[in-house]
C-alpha cells in the first residue's frame, strides 16, 4: 500500500462519515432537497475515493471504475447544489420579508386594502375591521358597492381607485366618514401597485383612523372658541404681541380698559399709537425683558392711558408646543376701583393708626382661647409701649399675663376671660410690671370683639398711678376728718354733759319745785342730745345712728333721772333695729324724751304702779312707726294736747311737724302716742 493509497483511504472514510452525518441529520433539516443533492455529491465522491484507493492499492481487479464521466457529473452536481441552495436562500428571505410585511401590516393600526384592477378586494389587513367596522370575511372578493352601497362618497372613492389604476399616480389623502355604528373619521391614501413592467396590477388603499385626531381637533376648536369667548367676555384685557412687538390680537375689553380701539392698534407696535413717555418705555422694556428672559414680568400697577384709571399689567411669554417663544401676552386688568378702595382703606388705616397711636391711654388687642386664657398681643399702641417700656416687637411676642404681677395673674384671670367671651365688658384694676421692674397700677377696660370669626380682646389700659395717689390722699383725709368729727361729737357730748351737770348743780339751789322741774326737764333734753353725740362718736358711721340703741339708752336715762324706784313703773321696750340719719334721730329722740318724761311724771300719780312701753317698727320701705304708751291715768278728759300750754307737748307737736310725721293720740287704758314718719333729710346748704 502506497502513501497515496493511505490518503485515499482517509478520503474514503471522511466521505463515508459525511454520508453518515447526512443520513443522521436529514430528518431535522428544512433543506431536504439541497441536502439530498449534497448526499448525491458525497456518494459520487465516495465512489471516486474508493476507486482511487483501490487503484493505488493495486486491487483494481474486483472493482471496476464506473467511468470518468462521474467526475464531470460531480462537478455539475456541485454547481446545481450551490444554485439550488442560493435559490432556497432567496426564497427563504422572501418568505421572511413577506411574513414580516404581514406582521407589520397586521400589527399596524393603519388598515390596508389591496384591490385588483377590477376594484375587487383581494386582501385586507387585521386593522381593517377595527377601522371600518366591516368583517374582512364579508368583503373579500367584493367591490365596495357590493357591501357598502349607501356609503357617502362611494362613487368618488371608485373614481379615485380607477384613476390610480389608470394613471399609476397616488391619490389622497382624502378624509372620509366611515358608515360604522359609531361615527369614524378615516384618512385614505390610494397607492398603485405595479408589476415588474411598471403596469398597475393592484391598488393599495391605506386607511388611517383619525377619529381621535378629528375629535381632538374639534374639541380643541371648541376650547379655542370657548377661550375666545371667555377672553372676550372677561373684564380683563388680553393683548397678544408677536416677537416684533406688534399687536396681533386684543380681547374686547381692551378698548374699555385702555381707550384704544382694536382696529386702531392691530398690526401696530406701542410706539405707533401710544404717546411717548416713561409709561410706554417701561412697558416696551418689560416686553423685551420677557423676550430675553422668557419669564413672566409683573404684575405691576400702571396708569391707564385713560385719565384717572389704573391698570395692573402682567406680561407673559407664550411658547409653542416645541417650547419656543412665539408671542408675548400682556394681561391688563382695570384696578381703578380696587386702587381707590385700597387708597381709602389705607387712609382709613392711617387715620385709625394715628388715633390708635395718639390716644392718651394704652390700647391693646390680644387673642383669647375658648377657655378664656389670654393669648399673645395682636396689636399695641405707642402709648402702651411707653407705659410698659417694651418695644412693640417685644410686646407682640408676649401675653397680657407676662405683664401682670404674680398675684394678679392667678387672681381671677379665668373668670375675667370667661366674662369677656360672654360679651360682657370687664373693668379691672391690675398692676403691671414695666420692663424696668416697676409696678404701675392700671385700669383695664376690656371688650370682646370678633376679628375674622376669632374672639379677640380690645382693652384700653389707663395708668391710674396719679388717680390712685389722689384717692389714697382723699381716703387719708377722710379718715382724718372722721377722726376730727368723732372728736367733735365727743366734745359736744362732753360739753352738753357739762351743761347738764351745771343745770343739775344749779337745780339744787332752787327751792321752787316748779322751777326745779323745768331745770330737770331742760337737763333731760340736753342729755337727750348729748346721748345722740355719744352714739355717734362710738359708731363707724358718723352720719347715722342705731335708733333702737339710742332710744334704749335714752329711756333708761329717763328712768334713772326720775328716780323710779323698784318695779313700780316698768319700762317695756320693743324696738326694731333701724339705722336712721342724724336729722331724723334727734327729733325722734326729743319726742321720745318728752313723751316718756310725761308718762313718768303724770301717768302714775300717788305711787301707782304701771308700765311704759316704747316700740319702733318698720311699716314698709323707709316708713317707721314710733309708739310711746302707758297704762296710766291718761290725759284729762277734753284736753287737746295740740293746744296745751305744756312746753313738752308743744315740743312734740313742733318736732313731729318738722319730721313731716303723723302724730296720733289714743286715750284707751292710758295714753298712746303714735308717730309715723319717714326718714327726714334736711335740705343741704346750697353751694355757690
Amino acid at each position: 500500500m502506497t502513501f497515496v493509497s493511505l490518503l485515499d483511504l482517509v478520503a474514503v472514510l471522511s466521505s463515508v462519515g459525511a454520508l453518515m452525518f447526512i443520513l443522521w441529520g436529514v430528518r431535522r433539516t428544512s433543506w431536504k432537497p439541497e441536502i439530498t443533492l449534497f448526499a448525491l455529491i458525497i456518494i459520487l465522491t465516495i465512489n471516486d475515493n474508493v476507486g482511487n484507493f483501490l487503484e493505488w492499492a493495486g486491487i483494481t481487479s474486483w472493482f471496476d471504475q464506473p467511468g470518468d464521466f462521474l467526475k464531470v457529473l460531480t462537478a455539475m452536481l456541485w454547481a446545481f447544489f450551490f444554485y439550488t441552495f442560493l435559490q432556497e436562500l432567496t426564497e427563504s428571505k422572501l418568505r421572511e420579508i413577506q411574513d414580516l410585511d404581514e406582521k407589520i401590516l397586521d400589527g399596524s393600526p393603519v388598515a390596508f386594502i389591496l384591490r385588483d384592477s377590477d376594484l375587487r378586494i383581494l386582501k385586507v389587513s387585521k386593522a381593517f375591521q377595527e377601522v371600518t367596522g366591516y368583517d374582512p370575511a364579508l368583503v373579500m372578493g367584493k367591490k365596495t358597492e357590493e357591501f357598502m352601497p349607501d356609503m357617502p362618497g362611494r362613487k368618488e372613492l371608485d373614481a379615485r381607485l380607477r384613476k390610480v389604476a389608470e394613471t399609476g399616480e397616488q391619490e389622497g389623502p382624502t378624509e372620509v366618514r366611515a358608515p360604522s355604528p359609531v361615527p369614524r373619521f378615516i384618512r385614505e391614501n390610494i397607492f398603485p401597485v405595479c408589476d415588474q413592467q411598471g403596469k398597475v396590477t393592484n391598488t393599495l388603499s391605506v386607511l388611517e383612523d383619525i377619529t381621535i385626531q378629528v375629535e381632538t381637533e374639534r374639541k380643541l376648536r371648541e376650547i379655542q372658541d370657548l377661550d375666545e369667548k371667555i377672553l372676550d367676555s372677561s373684564p380683563v384685557s388680553f393683548v397678544l404681541h408677536d416677537l416684533d412687538l406688534r399687536i396681533i390680537r386684543v380681547s374686547s375689553a381692551y378698548e374699555k380698559v385702555t381707550g384704544f380701539k382694536a382696529e386702531d392698534v392691530l398690526g401696530k407696535t406701542l410706539t405707533d399709537f401710544m404717546p411717548a413717555g416713561p409709561q410706554r418705555d417701561s412697558i416696551i422694556m418689560s416686553m423685551k425683558n420677557v423676550m430675553k428672559m422668557e419669564l413672566q414680568v409683573g404684575p405691576q400697577d400702571i396708569e391707564s392711558p385713560l385719565p384717572n384709571r389704573y391698570l395692573r399689567e402682567t406680561i407673559l411669554p407664550v411658547f409653542d408646543t416645541g417650547g419656543r417663544l412665539v408671542n408675548i401676552l400682556a394681561v391688563l386688568e382695570d384696578i381703578t376701583e380696587q386702587k381707590l378702595a385700597r387708597d381709602a382703606l389705607r387712609e382709613s388705616e392711617e387715620r385709625y393708626r394715628m388715633l390708635f397711636d395718639n390716644i392718651h391711654d394704652g390700647v391693646v388687642l390680644y387673642d383669647m382661647d375658648e377657655n378664656g386664657v389670654p393669648g399673645r398681643f395682636i396689636e399695641v399702641n405707642a402709648q402702651f409701649c411707653d407705659m410698659t417700656g417694651y418695644s412693640r416687637r417685644d410686646l407682640l411676642r408676649m401675653t397680657p399675663m407676662d405683664l401682670l404681677v404674680k398675684e394678679d395673674r392667678i387672681k381671677d384671670a379665668r373668670a375675667v376671660g370667661v366674662n369677656l367671651l360672654q360679651g360682657r365688658s370687664t373693668f379691672v384694676e391690675r398692676n403691671i410690671i414695666t420692663r424696668r421692674g416697676a409696678e404701675v397700677p392700671c385700669e383695664f377696660n376690656a371688650h370682646s370683639l370678633n376679628l375674622g370669626n376669632k374672639p379677640v380682646i380690645l382693652s384700653v389700659v389707663r395708668d391710674i398711678t396719679e388717680r390712685k395717689e389722689a384717692r389714697d390722699r382723699i381716703k387719708d383725709s377722710l379718715v382724718e376728718k372722721e377722726t376730727l368729727l368723732r372728736e367733735i361729737h365727743h366734745r359736744v357730748k362732753n360739753n352738753l354733759q357739762v351743761i347738764s351737770g351745771l343745770l343739775n348743780l344749779q337745780s339744787h339751789y332752787i327751792d321752787d319745785e316748779r322751777v326745779r322741774t323745768i331745770y330737770k326737764e331742760s337737763q333731760n333734753r340736753i342729755k337727750t342730745m348729748a346721748l345722740i353725740h355719744e352714739e355717734l362718736y362710738q359708731r363707724e358711721d358718723l352720719a347715722r345712728i342705731n335708733l333702737a340703741d339710742y332710744i334704749r339708752g335714752l329711756a333708761e336715762n329717763l328712768m334713772a333721772s326720775y328716780s323710779i324706784k323698784g318695779d313700780r313703773i316698768r319700762l317695756n321696750l320693743d324696738l326694731a333695729d333701724a339705722d336712721i340719719a342724724l336729722d331724723t334721730a334727734i327729733p325722734c329722740g326729743l319726742i321720745v324724751n318728752e313723751l316718756v318724761s310725761n308718762a313718768l311724771k303724770h301717768a302714775f300719780p300717788e305711787g301707782r304702779p304701771g308700765k311704759v312701753r316704747v316700740s319702733l317698727s318698720c311699716t314698709g320701705g323707709d316708713s317707721w312707726e314710733l309708739t310711746v304708751s302707758d297704762n296710766g291715768i291718761g290725759l284729762p278728759d277734753g284736753l287737746d294736747y295740740t293746744r296745751t300750754m305744756s312746753m313738752g307737748m308743744q315740743l312734740v307737736v313742733v318736732l313731729a311737724q318738722q319730721l313731716n310725721a303723723e302724730l296720733q293720740y289714743r286715750g284707751e287704758a292710758g295714753t298712746v302716742f303714735s308717730l309715723t314718719f319717714r326718714e327726714y333729710h334736711e335740705a343741704a346748704p346750697e353751694i355757690v
Binding site: 478520503a11 452525518f21 458525497i42
Partner: protein
Amino acid sequence: MIQHNELITFLVGTGVALFIFINRRRIKQLPGSTWLFLSYSVLYVGWTLTIVEGFMMEEIVNLLEHACYMVSSISAALWCWIVLVTEEGGR
C-alpha cells in the same frame, strides 16, 4: 497528456468556482460555509492538479492531487457535521 474527461471536469469546475466567487456573499450566509468553500476549493485544486500531472512532476503532483481529495472529503464531512448534527446548523 490531457484526458478529455479531466478537462471537461476542470472546465465545469471552473464555472462552478466562478459562480461561487460571484455569489460568495450570499453563500457565506450558509452555516459552516467556510468548510463548504474549503471542500469545493480543494476539490477544484485536485481537479486542476489531475491535468497538471500529465505535464510535469507526475508523482508529486499526483500525491498533492490525492491529498486535495482527502482534505476535500474531510472538509465536506465537517460541513455535514456542522449543518446536520450540531446546534449551529439547526439554527
